[in-house]
């Protein structure tokens, strides 16, 4: 039987790297449903989980998959699921339950073209706003977007760590190209991987409050069966977890859910800067389009354009302060993404009219070429 951590050098797809990252982070439950282009994550977990003491179940649909992931998390296991657009839509209901009940778990969306069945086998990045606001009500969420299989491995570990630390679902917004491409992935030794697991309560059980923040803006989390006799509800609840359908309770609960993320932006937001020191044209991108943007920066530089790249590994919460501090100091923002303007709208908002913001995007189905990005820069500036 293979160990949980396959230390060494591998040549694997992003989907497999994601599954291996999950195992490295301690994921021991996967509730899934097949969907292109995310199926390989489920298949790999089905093969690997039994050997490391975990369990895989293929549920009857993505609604059930997401529900099972929440249940497993409350039973004490690090849990995840993986899907693509249509399944992501079905999961929204229980992602909301996860947000409301502050349940750690990881949801991977290997994005394909939409809306509806769309382009099952072809790339897009059209679910970015759905990731932010797809479940009803006002809330905050964490979404990560890696640009290579290697990064997907690490970001999956990070997704689990953040979900355990802040007691929240964390979304990995990868895409068909990253999911299906094979690249070298190096899995380090256990000692070089930081793994965080949820804090468990200590002390008197009768005084424990399930939603009373102690550290990182969240309360410790016992598992069902630990003897705390917890009550967990998707209704608006007080710090004991009891339903409390009042304006004050609503303000406290939503405030806590938003606050625990807003108050830890430095810890949650991760970006990578490339040739940014003297950049006048700032490209902003993420996921597979981050690779396009990287090539475009070099191409633009070779033509005398001072371009740089701000690559977002964390997309939500949006690195607002970073964009605001650049606004007014640089000549232009160019967002590169495979949709008709989603993160671009955020950039435009934060640029606040002080720096023009442009989009290089299309509706999905293929990658964006670096040449197109450079042409757009030349046109605009």
């Amino acid at each position: 039987m293979k160990p949980a951590l396959l230390t060494g050098k591998h040549y694997i797809t992003g989907d497999v790297a994601c599954a291996e990252g999950a195992l490295a982070a301690g994921c021991r439950f996967f509730g899934g449903y097949p969907i292109t282009p995310a199926t390989e994550i489920a298949e790999h977990m089905a093969e690997r989980l039994p050997g490391v003491g975990g369990l895989f179940i293929q549920m009857e649909d993505e609604i059930a998959a997401m529900a099972s992931v929440l249940g497993a998390s409350w039973a004490g296991k690090k849990s995840m699921t993986a899907t693509s657009g249509p399944g992501f839509s079905l999961m929204m209901e229980n992602i909301g339950l996860g947000v409301s009940t502050e349940t750690p778990c990881v949801v991977v969306n290997v994005q394909r073209g939409g809306p509806s069945t769309g382009l099952p086998t072809q790339v897009a990045q059209g679910d970015m706003m759905q990731a932010r606001w797809g479940s009803h009500g006002h809330y905050a969420i964490i979404a990560l977007s890696p640009s290579s299989p290697q990064e997907l491995f690490y970001q999956t570990i990070r997704a689990f760590n953040l979900s355990e630390k802040y007691r929240t679902p964390v979304l990995i917004m990868t895409d068909e190209v990253i999911g299906h491409m094979s690249e070298r992935v190096e899995i380090p030794e256990a000692g070089k991987i930081e793994v965080f697991s949820r804090n468990k309560p200590r002390g008197r059980r009768d005084r424990f409050r399930l939603f009373s923040p102690v550290e990182n803006g969240v309360a410790p989390m016992p598992a069902a069966g630990d003897g705390y006799r917890i009550h967990v509800t998707g209704l608006t609840h007080d710090e004991r977890g009891y339903p409390d359908l009042t304006v004050d309770a609503q303000a406290n609960m939503v405030g806590r859910i938003v606050g625990k993320i807003q108050n830890h932006l430095d810890d949650i937001i991760q970006t990578e800067s490339y040739r940014m020191q003297d950049a006048e044209i700032v490209l902003i991108s993420y996921g597979v389009s981050g690779r396009t943007a990287l090539a475009a920066v070099d191409m633009a530089r070779s033509q005398g354009i001072k371009a740089g790249l701000l690559r977002l590994l964390t997309v939500w919460p949006f690195p607002e302060a970073m964009i605001r501090s650049l606004a007014g100091r640089v000549k232009g923002f160019v967002t590169v993404e495979i949709n008709l303007g989603q993160i671009h709208l955020e950039v435009e908002r934060c640029a606040a009219g002080r720096t023009p913001a442009f989009l290089v995007g299309h509706a999905g189905g293929t990658l964006i070429s670096p040449q197109r990005v450079v042409e757009r820069i030349k046109e605009a500036f």
């Binding site: 439950f29 039994p50 099972s68 069902a224």
Partner: protein, 280 residues
């Protein structure tokens, strides 16, 4: 004072006091509603089963019956509409030593959650599902459900229900449940025994508990609260082992109660262990 209440100083102690969150009382259930009786039967069954209460988990969906999870002093989860069973599946499979009971209503379990019910039964997930069947959506004001008898009046079938209802025990049986029983909330001893038996037994167990909804269903169908209970007494037949085919709920004939299925077969987890983690 009724026999089941005894005095401890000035405080009345109910034998199920330790099983409920007293700080959540009063409950939301209407006068004449049967959910509380089914809930009591369920708690009595849990208590008398001898299972460590720290290891018992109750999961509910949404609706009047869905509020039960919030009243029990167990680890309890009030989930999304229809999703109690897949949530419970996750709990049970992530920690098989837990005893998981799903307590919810007919609308929750069989309309919006119908798909989850049949698949959990098919997989033989080791959980006990108690369905309070009051023949309509009570919480939202009395709309037609997947269990509403043909011709019945509800707010969404103002001239009568043109649909036929599910025969729930037949559905459970066909989907592969290891244990299937039906009682009314008037048959409290049988109901309690059934829930207890189901909890102890490995495999997917389903217990339907017919229960009155005088405020929403009874009122519109010329059924006074006492009429429903009289019907439960006079127009039911206990027939253990009856064929699931004859278990439809139809006002023109008697309703059959009893235990209909009680079979042994390996659970999902047992098969998973056997196939994926055979003993060295």
């Amino acid at each position: 004072m009724a026999d089941h209440l005894k005095k401890a100083g000035n405080k009345q102690v109910h034998p199920l006091d330790d099983m409920v969150r007293r700080d959540r009382m009063p409950h939301i259930w209407c006068p004449g509603c049967g959910i509380g009786t089914v809930f009591s039967a369920c708690l009595t069954a849990i208590k008398s089963s001898g299972i460590d209460l720290d290891k018992v988990v109750m999961v509910s969906g949404i609706g009047c019956s869905g509020r039960a999870a919030g009243y029990t002093n167990l680890d309890s989860f009030h989930t999304t509409h229809g999703r109690a069973i897949p949530f419970a599946t996750g709990v049970k499979l992530a920690n098989p030593e837990l005893k998981v009971i799903v307590f919810s209503g007919d609308g929750d379990l069989f309309a919006i959650g119908g798909n989850h019910f049949i698949h959990a039964a098919r997989r033989n997930i080791d959980i006990t599902v108690v369905c309070v069947n009051n023949l309509n959506y009570g919480m939202t004001g009395g709309q037609a459900a997947a269990t509403t008898p043909e011709g019945s009046l509800t707010t969404t079938t103002p001239l009568g229900n043109p649909e036929r209802p599910f025969n729930l025990p037949l559905l459970a049986y066909a989907a592969g449940a290891a244990y299937v029983a039906r009682w009314t909330m008037l048959h409290i001893q049988d109901l309690t025994e059934s829930i207890k038996e189901a909890m102890v037994k490995p495999g997917f167990a389903f217990i339907e508990a017919l229960s009155p909804c005088p405020v929403n269903y009874g009122r519109r169908n010329k059924e006074k609260p006492l009429d429903t209970l009289t019907m439960y007494r006079d127009k039911t037949i206990i027939k253990n082992g009856a064929s699931p085919l004859e278990l439809d709920v139809d006002s023109r004939k008697s309703i059959i109660l009893g235990k209909f299925v009680d079979i042994q077969k390996p659970t999902f987890f047992e098969l998973y262990e056997k196939i994926y983690r055979p003993a060295e």
